[in-house]
């Protein structure tokens, strides 16, 4: 099994991250925004794993577990927010909740 070059892995991470970011910025459906954030988190996780493999250290994989845990927590809070949003505005459009306009 030939090692995958680090650049490829990082390029994948960047691609995933940008996809996620564009998703967050472009989608108005808050459920899809949450999913895009998950993708961004996973992009960071890929970057960690790739870096860990490059240096032959387990730290990258350890960090990935942290990210998983963070993502789980984030989803929990995020879904609660989604429910609240729907409860109040009867929509899942994130732009509907813009009462904080200066």
């Amino acid at each position: 099994m030939t090692a995958i070059p680090m650049e490829h892995g990082l390029a994948l991470a960047v691609a995933l991250f940008v996809l996620g970011l564009v998703g967050v910025l472009a989608r108005r459906n808050i459920v899809f925004m949450l999913m895009s954030i998950e993708i961004m988190l996973n992009a960071a996780g890929v970057a960690f794993v790739v870096a860990g493999a490059r240096w032959g250290a387990a730290d990258g994989q350890v960090m990935f577990f942290f990210i998983l845990a963070t993502a789980a927590a984030e989803v929990a809070v995020g879904l609660a927010l989604v429910l609240q949003l729907y409860h109040r505005f009867h929509t899942v459009d994130a732009d509907a909740a813009s009462k904080m306009r200066g």
């Binding site: 970011l21 910025l25 732009d95 909740a97 813009s98 009462k99 904080m100």
Partner: protein, 629 residues
């Protein structure tokens, strides 16, 4: 028996505190007992202490210092709360305490119908306490405390009937004008301390002679600043404008504060710091010239006033001018002697005028008075004695001896003696004219209005005592050719530098001239204001006469000039600067802040995706910076 000295200022202060706490609720009798009694007790204690000082055994220094505690101690500056009793402060203390007591006794009846009875006695007690602190202070800073204390009481009592805005205005005027002098005094005090390293009065005297050569710049500056303070408090030129207006206060106030005691604080200050003034002949000459000018200007102004209290006010300014004249020629004890006799006869005149004013329903205008001789015989007698003493009627009155002593000493003065003497003599003539103008207008002639009430015992006793003192007060200092009893100057010699000891040449002639001036003045007043009043009217009706009359009536137009020189420009500057142009900078800062706020609040759309965009762009920018730089 010197130890109870502390009680002298403390008793009136206690009276003040009691009256401030309970004066509103307590019955009038109790208020009067506390108010008058505390001053009376203080006068008794003062007499005991003074007796102990006077009969001190030979050989011991005739002074006593009671140090209570150190006020503060900051970098070598450690003024002490210390009372210093010597011959000078002893004479002042006795006069202040006794005259204060008599006037308070008078007030107990005079103010009986007033709503602010308790307030009045509280202020008066505070005044007596402050004045006693002033004269007994052994430290210049403590003296300054008393100095400001009497100024405060003066303000409070001039504006005592505060419902009339004019009284408040007069009170503010007095406060602000004396403040000009007080500021100079404070600067002088600071100068003395920084240069001499002490604020204790005896040490200042010692170090000033040791450190400063005669007439050096610093000594001159310090003396001039103290003189400015004295001029403000004693209503001398050019700060005399406040005193005539100060007559807005109740008459006992005018008698105590604006005639007998507070306004002579300047005289006391100069006498107290005599070493400093002796070091600076130029300033001392200025004192004499200020005194001579003031006494002349004020006498002329007193000639034409119609308000009886304003006549007395100008007369006070003029008599303090005599004291300044005496100080200026180095006749220290003569100035204190005149202070004493003036305190007697001027408070007597004010109290007499108070009786007349009260009897005629608060009528101040002398043109509406007349013929009261038969109606108020006791008051007439007292007022006549006071006026005679003020006019220095020869031989029989106290005022004659003190004024004669001043004139004789001025005659002998090495610099400008003749001119100053002539000014003093002219002043004596004018004094006799205006003093007896008052007597003739008020008590002689046809009866114009019947008095509504007669004075009682509490008014009678002070009048009788002060009248007696105005006659016999001169006996403690008789000139050499009339018995020669220099009791007062002998006593004062332990505290003040002795005046040139040589006998006065041609003493009898000087007395004769002064006596003649007085008699001519009285005759003139009789001629113009009693025998043929139309003479005076014709004089006043002529063009020059009426112009002069109006000019003098307004006090030589000082108020007019100050209005244009100081008040109007000040008001103009205030109006120009109403927009606070200095604040423009701060206003601009506030405006920029508000603008930035408006701009930034545009970015707060409340839209989550917009914020995420902001985060993303920010991250990109910072990463780009980190990579590129």
């Amino acid at each position: 028996m010197l130890k109870p000295l502390l009680l002298v200022p403390l008793l009136p202060l206690a009276g003040f505190l009691l009256l401030v706490l309970g004066g509103r609720r307590w019955p009038r009798a109790l208020v009067a007992v506390i108010g008058v009694g505390s001053a009376g007790l203080a006068a008794l204690v003062a007499s005991v202490v003074a007796g102990a000082l006077f009969y001190m055994p030979e050989g011991q220094p005739r002074e006593f210092t009671q140090t209570l505690w150190t006020w503060m101690s900051v970098g070598g500056f450690s003024p002490r709360i210390a009372l210093h009793l010597d011959a000078l402060s002893c004479v002042m203390m006795l006069v202040v305490a006794w005259v204060g007591f008599l006037i308070l006794l008078y007030s107990a009846e005079f103010m009986a119908d007033d709503d602010g009875y308790g307030r009045f006695f509280a202020y008066m007690d505070l005044f007596v306490a402050s004045m006693l602190v002033l004269v007994l202070a052994g430290d210049l800073l403590l003296l300054y405390l008393g100095w400001e204390g009497v100024g405060l009481c003066s303000y409070l009592l001039i504006g005592f009937w505060y419902r009339d805005p004019a009284n408040g205005r007069a009170a503010r005027k007095a406060f602000i004008v004396t403040r000009v002098g007080d500021a100079a005094f404070a600067v002088g005090l600071a100068l003395l301390f920084t240069q001499l390293g002490t604020s204790a009065i005896p040490e200042i005297a010692e170090r000033a002679t040791a450190q400063w050569a005669g007439g050096s710049t610093l000594a001159t500056a310090a003396a001039a600043l103290l003189l400015a303070g004295a001029v403000g408090k004693s209503a001398q030129l050019p700060l005399q404008v406040w005193l005539p207006d100060a007559m807005a206060g109740p008459t006992p106030t005018s008698a105590l504060i604006h005639a007998a005691t507070m306004v002579t604080a300047g005289v006391y200050l100069i006498a107290r710091m005599n070493v400093l003034f002796a070091l600076t002949p130029a300033v001392q000459l200025a004192v004499a010239i200020i005194g001579a000018t003031t006494l002349l200007l004020a006498s002329f102004a007193a000639l034409v006033q119609t308000d009886i209290k304003r006549v007395l006010a100008y007369s006070t300014i003029s008599q303090i001018g005599y004291m300044f004249l005496a100080l200026g020629v180095g006749a220290w004890s003569a100035a204190i002697f005149h202070f004493m006799t003036h305190a007697f006869f001027k408070s007597l005149l004010f109290l007499g005028a108070g009786v007349v004013i009260m009897a005629l329903h608060h009528e101040h205008d002398m043109r509406k008075m007349g013929g009261l001789r038969k109606e108020l015989p006791g008051t007439f007698g007292a007022f006549l004695i006071g006026a005679a003493s003020l006019a220095a009627l020869p031989l029989v009155t106290a005022g004659f001896y003190s004024k004669d002593l001043i004139l004789a000493r001025v005659w002998m003065a090495p610099t400008g003696g003749l001119w100053l003497y002539l000014a003093g003599l002219a002043g004596a003539l004018l004094t006799a004219v205006y003093a007896f103008r008052m007597v003739f207008l008020v008590f002689f002639g046809p009866l114009k209005e019947k008095p509504s009430r007669r004075p009682g015992v509490a008014i009678g006793i002070p009048l009788a005592v002060l009248a007696t003192l105005s006659i016999v007060g001169g006996l403690i200092e008789l000139p050499a050719n009339l018995g020669g009893r220099p009791v007062l100057s002998g006593f004062l010699a332990s505290a003040l530098p002795p005046t040139a000891a040589e006998a006065i040449p041609a003493e009898g002639w000087l007395q004769a001239v002064a006596g003649l001036a007085c008699i001519v003045g009285v005759w003139f007043a009789y001629l113009y204001f009693l025998r043929s009043p139309m003479l005076a009217d014709r004089l006043a009706a002529s063009a020059a006469g009426s112009a002069l009359r109006r000019f003098w009536f307004s006090g030589w137009g000082f108020d007019w000039a100050y209005e244009r020189l100081f008040i109007r420009p000040y008001v103009w500057i205030a109006r120009v600067n109403k927009g606070d142009f200095i604040d423009a900078f701060y206003a601009a800062v506030a405006w920029a802040g508000r603008l930035a706020h408006t701009l930034l609040s545009q970015t707060q759309t409340g839209n989550v995706r917009w914020y995420a965009m902001g985060l993303a762009i920010g991250a990109v920018v910072f990463i780009a910076l980190a990579v590129l730089l």
